[in-house]
């Protein structure tokens, strides 16, 4: 397992895909978390392009969310939908491409157990993920301190408890989506279909179902426990503005409580990982 982990870390580190996806996430997080909000805050005094922010109160709320003590929330807000989708892609391609290039076939014949090979991949993805969330948090802090300095606002650090909570929530949400990608890559034995199915599910199907649930009560029983609902609810519970708020982030909801969302996300994470391992171990190695 240690050898597999080291090999997979090497692959992920040298792999352009990893850098592209993680870089995309960092840029999106900064752009939607800070840049655009700050620009619309700045434009409140007449210069123009965000006419809806006329009201000083709204502007204050906007600025409030750009402050350093809110960074743990900004870290989480983008993950239920956009960040999750990117990490799902990373999980799906990491596992799927091994089938696509035929490398799993060789690796499975040289490892004592197939679990070891996939377990090493999962661990390597976990390390990449933890690193990515940490970097995101640091960048968010830097961005918020910059805004605070530019607007001569007090610079209060987020409390340790808030930071830990935000970091944990971010890790859980993103790990769940990444694990979903790993499972899809395993199921479809290839990168393309796995990515396609995963994105359609996380970006389209869940949203459509939630739309239907609004009209049709019983459907809500199902949509309340979907992975995306759980992810969005945890982000909402941590303090991110929900998508119904004008300044909210798509994907963030308040459908279920924080504890329920955490349990549900943990259950999905375990289910996806265990499912991938079981499937890999049981299945015949094709040609």
């Amino acid at each position: 397992m240690i050898a597999s982990l080291r090999a997979e870390l090497l692959r992920l580190r040298r792999w352009p895909v990893t850098w592209v996806l993680c870089g995309t996430w960092l840029v999106l997080n900064l752009a939607f978390g800070y840049l655009f909000n700050y620009l619309s805050y700045r434009s409140r005094d007449g210069s123009g392009f965000a006419e809806n922010i006329t009201d000083a109160a709204t502007a204050r709320v906007l600025l409030r969310h750009l402050m350093p003590d809110q960074a743990p929330i900004t870290l989480v807000a983008g993950l239920p939908m956009f960040g999750g989708a990117l990490l799902l892609i990373l999980g799906a391609i990491t596992v799927g491409s091994g089938y696509g290039w035929g490398t799993w076939k060789t690796i499975f014949t040289t490892r004592p157990r197939r679990h070891t090979a996939l377990g090493g991949t999962m661990a390597a993805l976990g390390i990449v993920l933890a690193g990515l969330i940490a970097v995101t948090f640091v960048l968010d802090l830097i961005a918020s301190f910059t805004v605070a300095a530019a607007e001569s606002q007090p610079t209060t650090w987020p409390s340790l408890a808030d930071s830990a909570q935000g970091f944990g929530a971010a890790l859980l949400i993103s790990a769940m989506w990444m694990a979903a990608g790993v499972l899809l890559g395993t199921l479809t034995r290839g990168p393309a279909l796995a990515v396609g199915l995963g994105l359609v599910w996380s970006l389209v199907v869940e949203n459509l179902l939630r739309g239907v649930a609004g009209l049709l009560g019983p459907v809500a029983n199902v949509t309340d426990v979907l992975p995306g609902t759980a992810a969005g609810s945890l982000a909402g519970a941590v303090g991110a503005l929900t998508q119904s708020d004008p300044n909210g982030t798509p994907g963030v909801t308040a459908v279920i409580g924080g504890t329920a969302a955490t349990i549900l996300l943990g259950a999905y994470l375990v289910l996806f990982l265990a499912g991938s391992l079981t499937l890999t171990a049981r299945r015949d190695v094709t040609t």
């Binding site: 692959r11 792999w15 352009p16 290039w101 035929g102 076939k105 060789t106 690796i107 004592p112 157990r113």
Partner: protein
């Protein structure tokens, strides 16, 4: 001579068809054994059974004293699949290092394997941009990197020029001289002469198991190509006579 691989009465069904009909063969340790036969004769299937990834209907395959596919064998057996098995979006060197680190080995072993297959100059090239022959050598480097006791190589020399083929075969024989056991499949009969021992299979049956010289003597010709044709025709005749007698 000590036996490294023993195949006994191996029957394999793939899809709904029986593709190996009771093959028995002994592969000696520290030698290069050639596995030759027409396309579709069951070479890859036999190799998969030896590596332990093929579901077998009946019969046994024993490798270094253990049943094929046993967990502790997997470290000792290297397998080059017929289709290249390397990440196209990594360089040759990165691929070799990836496989090396799977065995707990480092950059030194990886670089050596890359040079051994003649890809030293292309080490920093993305596998996706390699020529077909280069890509299959990149895959070979990854199979060689761990220096396993048993090496199962499925058509490692396809698409290579005569000079490179010669170098690769010299390399295989050098590995055997150091004690490794190699089973190498091929379509090309002029490579058969470089093997210590030959297995000729046809339509899922073993029709000859001998040294190149033994096969030449049995067929009564010097040219191995011709010798194989004669053996195949002789087998056809026996089959027809047997049918006619029923």
């Amino acid at each position: 001579m000590e036996t490294a691989i023993e195949v006994r009465d191996l029957v394999v069904v793939r899809g709904k068809r029986e593709v190996l009909h009771g093959i028995s063969a002994l592969i000696p340790r520290g030698s290069v054994t050639g596995l030759l036969g027409p396309s579709g004769s069951g070479k890859t299937t036999l190799m998969r059974a030896i590596v332990g990834v093929q579901i077998v209907k009946s019969g046994t395959v024993t490798v270094l004293g253990d049943p094929a596919g046993t967990a502790r064998l997997r470290r000792r057996v290297g397998y080059l699949t017929q289709a290249p098995s390397v990440y196209a979006d990594l360089t040759v060197r990165e691929n070799a290092r990836y496989f090396a680190s799977l065995y707990g080995l480092g950059a030194v072993e990886a670089d050596r394997a890359v040079v051994d297959v003649g890809l030293g100059d292309a080490a920093r090239q993305l596998v996706g941009t390699l020529s077909e022959g280069q890509r299959s050598r990149a895959s070979l480097a990854c199979a060689l990197v761990s220096n396993p006791d048993v090496l199962i190589l499925d058509e490692p020399t396809v698409g290579q020029d005569p000079v490179l083929r010669d170098e690769l075969w010299a390399r295989f024989n050098a590995l055997a001289a150091q004690g490794s056991t190699l089973l190498v499949s091929s379509h090309v009969m002029d490579e058969a002469g470089r093997c210590g021992q030959l297995l000729l299979i046809r339509e899922g049956r073993l029709i000859a198991e001998d040294t190149p010289d033994g096969i030449r003597a049995a067929a009564g010709v010097q040219d191995l190509d011709e010798a194989f044709l004669r053996l195949i025709r002789a087998q056809d005749r026996t089959a027809t006579t047997a049918d006619g007698g029923r």
